[in-house]
């Protein structure tokens, strides 16, 4: 009997080890290829990361534990830094506060004017968006994927697509949510495409990530629409991001491609804010817009010319008692026209304002006119093409 005994027929039948291992490798490769084909990343959809929610929850635990001492040490060093450099920092902060106080006063004034314009023009304004603060616990920053895990999830109403920002600028958006952990797709990821606009020229472009710290600015149209240092904001096109989020500055790469120096890279990303903004569906719909209150319900009544009759002054539409530049000029122009037409019917002399006259026909503040005559009905702005009542005198003024 050359090989073995009767009970062990296959003891010398040996499968070549290398070929058998290659068979295992082939099976694993086939399974991986099928998974790869079924999990394409070119379209980031809500269901793409659903199967990873449990994994993210578990994987974030060790990084939370690791980041705890790191954050504690960082807080301690910051405390030491504050203690030793308090005087110098105090001096620079005083200068900053003085400057910021001026900026703040200017901002309040402009915000007031802007709000009045929006109401006058019945603009569709975006509602304020709620935010949720979270802390970054894990980072993937390689060239093939740029993701970040944050320690807030669906328990805090975070949903797919919510934009994520820092105090400096846009970071990314939510692509995976579990109860307490969310996955943020960074704007530098190869699958990230953010519609942006250049603030100076109002030109539109698409910011495409390539795995590096400087995303590319593609589809830029127009000559000189981008210059080095131009501020880049989110345009809101497509409805994924709200309009006006600060993104970065335009820079030109060594390869001649326009890129964006991200504001969010100015400092390490630790705390982030998640905007609970979904898309345009959060904006008011048509029915809501129709229920928008009329301007006459929002603004104080207009100035009343002393020498003019009530119907003539009521035609002077959009005059505002605020004294803002645009509305004031519109009030002067239209009031002048209406006053002259009314004066031509009653008095021969013009009613143009005279500084020396005891009762000038120029508009007065709302309080004074209210005391003098009953308040006319104020209607929203009507385009001039529909009201052709401008007299030659008014045309001469224009």
């Amino acid at each position: 009997m050359p090989y073995g005994d009767n009970n062990k027929h296959f003891e010398h039948l040996k499968l070549p080890m290398t070929w058998a291992v290659m068979g295992v490798v082939a099976v694993v490769c086939i399974v991986a290829a099928l998974m790869f084909l079924g999990d394409r990343r070119d379209d980031v959809e809500p269901g793409a990361y659903t199967n990873r929610a449990g994994f993210d929850t578990v994987a974030s635990l060790p990084d939370k534990a690791l980041s705890y001492p790191v954050h504690k040490i960082g807080d301690g060093t910051n405390w030491l830094d504050d203690y030793f450099f308090a005087v110098r920092e105090n001096r620079s902060l005083k200068k900053k506060v003085a400057q910021l106080q001026q900026d703040h006063d200017r901002m309040v004034e402009l915000a007031d004017i802007n709000a009045r314009y929006e109401k006058l023009l019945n603009l569709r304004t975006e509602p304020p968006v709620e935010t949720v603060a979270a802390r970054s616990v894990a980072v993937s920053r390689g060239p093939f994927a740029n993701n970040r895990l944050i320690d807030a999830g669906s328990n805090k109403k975070i949903g797919f697509g919510n934009p994520v920002i820092t105090e400096h600028g846009l970071v990314g958006r939510i692509v995976g949510v579990s109860a307490d952990v969310s996955r943020v797709l960074m704007v530098t990821d190869v699958t990230s495409h953010v519609p942006v606009m250049i603030l100076r020229s109002d030109a539109r472009a698409m910011m495409n990530g390539d795995g590096g710290g400087y995303p590319k600015l593609d589809f830029v149209r127009g000559k000189d629409s981008v210059k080095v240092g131009d501020q880049i904001l989110s345009s809101g096109d497509g409805g994924i991001f709200p309009r006006g989020l600060p993104v970065g500055e335009a820079v030109k790469g060594v390869d001649g491609v326009w890129r964006v120096r991200l504001y969010s890279n100015r400092a390490p990303i630790d705390f982030v804010k998640v905007l609970l903004f979904k898309d345009f569906s959060q904006l008011p719909n048509g029915d809501t817009l129709l229920r928008t209150p009329a301007v006459s319900d929002v603004l104080p009544p207009p100035a009343q010319p002393v020498g003019a009759s009530a119907p003539a002054s009521s035609a002077s539409g959009s005059s505002s008692a605020s004294g803002s530049s645009a509305s004031s000029s519109a009030a002067v122009t239209t009031t002048g026209a209406a006053s002259s037409s009314a004066a031509s019917a009653t008095k021969p002399k013009p009613v143009a304002p005279k500084p020396a006259a005891p009762k000038p026909a120029a508009p007065k503040p709302a309080g004074a006119s209210n005391s003098a005559a009953p308040t006319p009905e104020l209607r929203p702005f009507v385009p001039p093409a529909t009201t052709q009542t401008t007299s030659p005198a008014a045309e001469g003024q224009q």
Binding site: V28, A32, L34, G38, A138, V139, S140, R183
Partner: protein, 194 residues
């Protein structure tokens, strides 16, 4: 005369019983189980990946992000062909896919192709000088990251930033001493591997 039972728990290690067949301890052979050269390094690789993913930027710089399972995909086929190692390597690739947010199968395919290529070529590599092994490692690494770039291009239609690929490849190369350590420790550790 020493017998296995006389060695005591401290000499046994955490896995694999030490066998002393009447020889001095230095010449004694040790049974190297899957835990020693497959599972323990795999867990260390996962731990390293998790640790380097911490949201911590010392002095404003990011931590490096090496592909540590590539070290195992290079060392394991050189130590010995195994049915178990490619399965564990597939799990490691799946872990990277999930943790780093890549498409499922992205890292698994790349790692498995490296493993398969080295299994077929292992007889030409084992026993060479370390500089030769290092050169082959660099060649393997280049092929590995080229495959990753190609898969990214197929998956997303976008070329990833090549300088970033070079940076990640450099960070991975810094782990090459662990390849030498694994080869030194396990290639001739068990007579059954021969």
């Amino acid at each position: 005369m020493k017998v296995p039972g006389m060695l005591g728990p401290k000499r046994r290690g955490i896995s694999g019983a030490a066998i002393n067949r009447g020889l001095r301890s230095g010449m004694a052979s040790k049974i190297v189980g899957p835990w020693d050269w497959i599972l323990a390094p795999a867990l260390m690789s996962i731990g390293l990946t998790l640790a380097l993913a911490a949201a911590f930027q010392p002095f404003g710089f990011y931590l490096p992000e090496p592909v540590s399972p590539l070290i195992l995909a290079f060392a394991w086929p050189l130590i010995r062909p195994s049915y178990f190692a490619p399965l564990v390597l597939g799990v490691l690739g799946l872990f990277l896919d999930m943790f780093w947010g890549a498409s499922l199968g992205f890292w698994t395919i790349s790692l498995m192709l490296v493993y398969g290529a080295l299994v077929t070529a292992r007889t030409y590599i084992v026993g060479q000088e370390w500089i030769v092994v290092f050169g082959i490692f660099l060649l393997t690494e280049g092929l590995f990251f080229s495959l990753c770039v190609l898969l990214t291009l197929v998956d997303t239609g976008v070329w990833p930033r090549l300088w970033g690929v070079v940076e990640q490849a450099f960070a991975t190369t810094l782990l090459f001493p662990f390849v030498l350590y694994l080869l030194e420790k396990y290639v001739h550790a068990d007579v059954r591997f021969q």
